[in-house]
């Protein structure tokens, strides 16, 4: 059975990108909201919860 490390790396790599990206997304949104309360508007229709 070949080593197939490329697949393992691909899977972990993509997951890392997704998770890190989401973490950055959260951080950015939180920063925007605390810097100027009520003025944080994202560039596309946000997935608001309650508002």
């Amino acid at each position: 059975m070949p080593a197939n490390w490329s697949y393992v790396l691909a899977a972990y790599g993509l997951a890392a990108v997704a998770l890190f990206g989401y973490w950055r997304h959260l951080a950015r949104r939180a920063r925007a909201l605390t810097a100027r309360p009520g003025a944080a508007v994202s560039h596309r229709t946000p997935n608001r919860t309650t508002s």
Partner: protein, 212 residues
């Protein structure tokens, strides 16, 4: 509190990677590809945790109308979709060298894909309803229906698979025998749960801030 959670999660993930690559042995049949399991299985478990919380939040919101429950449901749904996507992609990448194909309509992958569709729909509904109060109510109804539907989906897909393709393919599954693999799995699962809790805390906070 949230920061502590974040650091714990980061530590946990490091431990998980170490366990998955350093401590756990190379699996006999599948080789190193099997290590994807340490990412794939905790992901799907975390997704189920998330959707369970969506159900809880939905029911509680309809019962009490406290916006905190709606925030919980919405945040959990968003993160749940993220982990479901990771589950599917990692499962697909696992499948390529194992089964020879990127996608197969096996019971687990199919059920997980349906789960993804249901909760993406949930998020879409939230995005398209302007009135905040109606949004919470509608989302709660969809959240409840989606969760209750999970076992129904599970059985229907399972029987459908049995009907159409008797399993001659050896699907990738965890090797229950080797305790090292079990331990690595456990460590990764704990790490993912911590990460989920951290994400959830931050996401709920953002939702709360948006409310003011």
């Amino acid at each position: 509190m949230t920061r502590v959670l974040g650091w714990l999660a980061a530590l946990g993930l490091l431990a998980g990677v170490a366990a998955g690559f350093g401590y756990a042995p190379r699996e006999a049949i599948q080789g190193n590809v099997q290590r994807i399991m340490y990412l794939h299985v905790p992901s799907v478990l975390t997704a189920y945790l998330a959707f369970g919380l969506v159900l809880l939040g939905s029911i509680a919101y309809l019962a009490t109308r406290r916006p905190g429950w709606d925030r919980l449901a919405a945040s959990a749904a968003e993160i749940g979709v993220l982990f479901t996507a990771i589950t599917i992609v990692s499962g697909s990448i696992w499948g390529k060298p194992t089964w020879g194909t990127w996608w197969t309509w096996d019971a687990r992958l199919t059920s997980t894909a349906i789960l993804l569709l249901v909760y993406v729909g949930y998020l879409m509904l939230r995005g398209l309803v302007d009135d905040a109060e109606a949004r919470g109510r509608y989302a709660a109804v969809v959240g409840i229906l989606g969760a209750v539907n999970i076992p129904i989906v599970h059985f229907s897909v399972k029987w459908w698979r049995a009907l159409h393709q008797p399993s001659t393919i050896l699907g990738p599954g965890p090797s229950p025998i080797d305790p090292a693999i079990g331990l690595a799995l456990l460590v990764n699962w704990i790490a993912f749960t911590l990460l989920f809790a951290y994400f959830l805390a931050r996401r709920i906070e953002i939702a709360r801030l948006e409310e003011t």
